[in-house]
Amino acid sequence: MAQYLQRQIDDLKKRILTLSAVVEESFHQAIHSLEHMDTTLAQAVIERDTEVNEMEVDLEEECLKILALHQPVAIDLRFIVSVLKINNDLERISDLSVNIAQRTRGLAALKQGPIPFDLFAMAEKVESMLKKSLDSLVNLDTDLAREVCHLDDEVDAMHKDNYGLVKNQIRQHPEQLDALIEYLSLSRHLERIADLTTNIAEDVLYMVDGEIIRHTY
């Protein structure tokens, strides 16, 4: 019975890692589509969301099945609870990637002015956070997870600055208002994704240490 549980947990791990790879790809492609104004790629990202949603539901059902069937304790229980939460976070990241891809489509139809802040530096930072949080999940690396938690502050600060920068630009060039609003929401999406990667990192810390460190950073 214990062996059976272990097999199911391994399967769960495989699934969450597969999901994480797909979500990481989605995010990367969303940013890529934005950078190159590639609406076909954006469309692909938007369509991929259905796949992610299905994977999320399957994974959640699998978790609940294991909980009901085996009533696991200690590390197994923590693992399943963490997977449930990370699953949710990943699905949200996928949704936000879709939002970014939609912004790409919106922006492609607009006359664009210069971006008042360094959007791609921010995207790169968020992507590295996502990568690190997923690496920490794969290797159960608590140091890396803590690093992600700290990086979030930087992204939050960036987002705050962006607000002011966009506001200034709107005052100077009110005719670019539409594009600027899109940029502002992009900044917000990125900030939200950074928050979600922090959640993943915190869940990894919980899984390994069994300690809930949320709201302490």
């Binding site: 791990k13 495989k14 890692l17 597969t18 990481e24 790809e25 492609q29 997923l134």
Partner: protein, 613 residues
């Protein structure tokens, strides 16, 4: 429990020795006591006969006093007990006991036999002397008349004593023999087991893989044969192991030196094998991912999807994979199922081909075809439009007809320019492909000056100042008309994208192995996303502006090809709003004498008469 060899030999030894001793003791004791008893019986009979001879005359009740005395005397002197018994069984005299106290002896076995006229003999316990006694009774006869019986008796305890001594000696000597047997047994078992022990250690060494070790061949024939056989086994094993290791190494080497990435996964999607090329493509090291699940080790959704597809398919599959990273990699993947000897599924083998460069070239080609058609189409459409207008009657209006014809002329010129440029490109490519581009060693300063001159009128229009710097002695192996063309193209671009009254720097310098001619402007600059593709044919950073400024879109492609025809290359550094620098690097083949290299001499400033390029 396993017994040591010595414990298997010794009990057998002991058992044999014990059995022998017991058998011998029994036989010896039996013979000895038989002999003794016979001797005793014969002695007793002789004594009884002697006594009977003496008393034959006086064997009667009335002589009992004398007989008693005689029996006591005889008894004392011979140590034998004599008893005289009447035929009735009444005891007449006895050496040890008063006759009147003795019961009737007629029923005693020896007496009963003697009374019948033969010699009776018996051995039994005597109540009188409380000992085991041997009795021999003989009848005393006088002319067939039975007078009585004489019985002689001796205690047989002496035989027991004698046997006791014998038994003790046998036990002692038996123990000595056992001791010796133990020593011999131990020695023999040692002799047998020591080579075995040695062989065991040797076999253990073989098991550890020390197959070059050999066992000493010695000891008995069987042991020696065993050692030889084991040595042969070790040799054969060693040879086979070496073959296996060599084959394995060969396979590893083949796999490792393949340009294609090879990745093998088992049915549970674990990585069994990954070669260096595949690891490099994916951005991992083979050691860190071997044995781990693919989801865990390689977080590339596209690759994971392909692996799943390859595992679930029965036949080989093919697909394109995009690996996202700092630079996106396009891979062509082939997957085929791995099968064991008996056809069972072991996993899948994925071969990855990096087609990023191919893909890029394909894009370039596609863009070229699209671009060249577009570029040729634009002037033709214009010309066609105006011709139609003229046909529809505009020809009758001289003013507009002239104007239209002018426009048509301009468009035709443009078409001509494009085709000229394409022809130049084709010729340079052809020449450099065939390697018959004539290169001559000549001074660079003349080339630079004539290029500046060619662009002077254009520069004058925008009041741009061109500053050439070139050491007068700097020479290179060049094709002067082509290099001039390249420089003119670069200068034209610099002039087009500079502001009014700007300045342009053209400078030649030499380092150890290269001569660099750079053209620098302080114009609008180029966005970094365009830099990698800038030298492609018809690639325009800003389409609208470039065409308005009258470029064919081939200028930089020509520059690149000219640089390549010289065995050099062209590079660009630029930042938006700050201007660009294009550098032509030509190889400096011969180490020439250059005394005045550092002194850059400004040549004539370009306020020369206008000329068309």
């Amino acid at each position: 429990m396993r017994l040591r060899f010595v414990w298997q030999i010794l009990p057998a030894f002991f058992f044999l020795i014990l059995l022998t001793l017991l058998l011998l003791t029994w036989l010896f004791a039996r013979n000895l006591s038989n002999f003794y008893l016979e001797e005793t019986a014969a002695g007793l009979e002789a004594r009884a006969r002697l006594a009977a001879f003496q008393i034959t005359d006086s064997f009667a009740l009335d002589h009992s006093g004398r007989l008693d005395e005689l029996s006591i005397r005889l008894g004392k002197e011979t140590g034998t007990r004599f008893t005289f018994i009447l035929p009735s069984g009444a005891v007449l005299a006895d050496s040890l006991e008063a006759p009147e106290r003795m019961e009737n002896h007629a029923l005693r076995p020896e007496i009963a036999i003697a009374l019948t006229g033969t010699i009776g003999q018996a051995t039994r316990y005597s109540n009188t002397v409380h000992k085991n006694m041997m009795y021999v009774a003989i009848p005393v006869q006088n002319q067939d008349h039975l007078l009585g019986v004489v019985r002689a008796a001796l205690p047989v305890t002496t035989i027991d004593q004698a046997l006791g001594i014998v038994y003790r000696q046998i036990i002692v000597s038996g123990m000595v023999v056992m001791l010796i047997a133990t020593l011999i047994g131990t020695y023999i078992s040692r002799r047998i087991s020591r080579p075995l022990e040695e062989m065991r250690r040797g076999a253990e060494r073989f098991a550890r893989g020390e197959l070059t070790e050999r066992l000493r061949v010695r000891g008995s024939e069987e042991i020696a044969a065993l050692a030889t056989a084991m040595n042969t086994t070790a040799y054969e094993l060693d040879q086979r192991m070496r073959t296996v290791v060599r084959q394995h190494n060969e396979q590893e080497a083949v796999l490792a030196s393949m340009v294609e990435g090879v990745l093998a996964v088992d049915t549970s999607e674990r990585i069994i094998r990954i070669n260096r090329a595949a690891a490099a493509l994916i951005g991992v090291t083979p050691e860190e991912v071997k044995g781990r699940g693919i989801q865990e080790a390689i977080r590339k959704a596209d690759l994971q999807r392909f692996v799943r597809r390859a595992l679930s398919a029965r036949d080989p599959v093919e697909g394109d994979i995009v690996l996202h990273g700092t630079e996106d990699l396009y891979l062509q993947a082939h997957g085929s199922p791995l099968r064991g000897e008996s056809g069972q599924e072991l996993g899948a083998l994925i071969v990855l081909n990096d087609v990023t460069r191919l893909r890029r070239l394909e894009n370039v080609r596609r863009d070229f075809v699209a671009n060249v058609s577009h570029e040729l189409k634009t002037p033709i459409t214009a010309i066609k439009g105006f011709v139609e207008t003229l046909q529809e009657g505009a020809i009758k209006d001289p003013d507009s007809a002239t104007q239209f014809l002018d426009i048509m002329m301009r468009q035709a010129d443009r078409l001509n320019d494009i085709i000229d440029d394409l022809l130049i490109l084709a010729r340079i490519e052809q020449d450099s492909d065939q390697g018959d581009l004539p290169l001559t060693e000549m001074s660079l300063i003349n080339v630079i000056e004539s290029a500046v001159q060619a662009c002077a009128s254009m520069a004058a229009e925008k009041q741009i100042h061109i500053e050439p710097f070139c050491p007068t002695t700097l020479k290179a192996r060049i094709n002067a008309p082509l290099l001039e063309q390249a420089l003119v193209n670069l200068l034209t671009n610099a002039i087009k994208y500079s502001q009014q009254e700007g300045r342009i720097l053209i400078e030649a310098s030499r380092s150890d192995s290269t001569i660099t001619i750079s053209v620098r402007d302080w114009g609008c600059g180029i966005d970094k996303v365009h830099l990698p593709r800038l030298f492609e044919r018809f690639y325009r950073a800003d389409k609208a502006r470039s065409r308005k400024l009258g470029g064919t879109g081939l200028g930089l492609a020509i520059v690149k090809h000219i640089a390549q025809a010289h065995g050099g290359e062209v590079t660009v550094t630029s930042s938006l709003g700050a201007g660009s620098t294009f550098s032509l690097q030509l190889p400096a083949r011969t180490q020439q004498h250059q005394a005045s290299l550092p002194s850059a001499v400004p040549t004539t400033p370009s306020t020369l008469p206008p000329a068309e390029d």
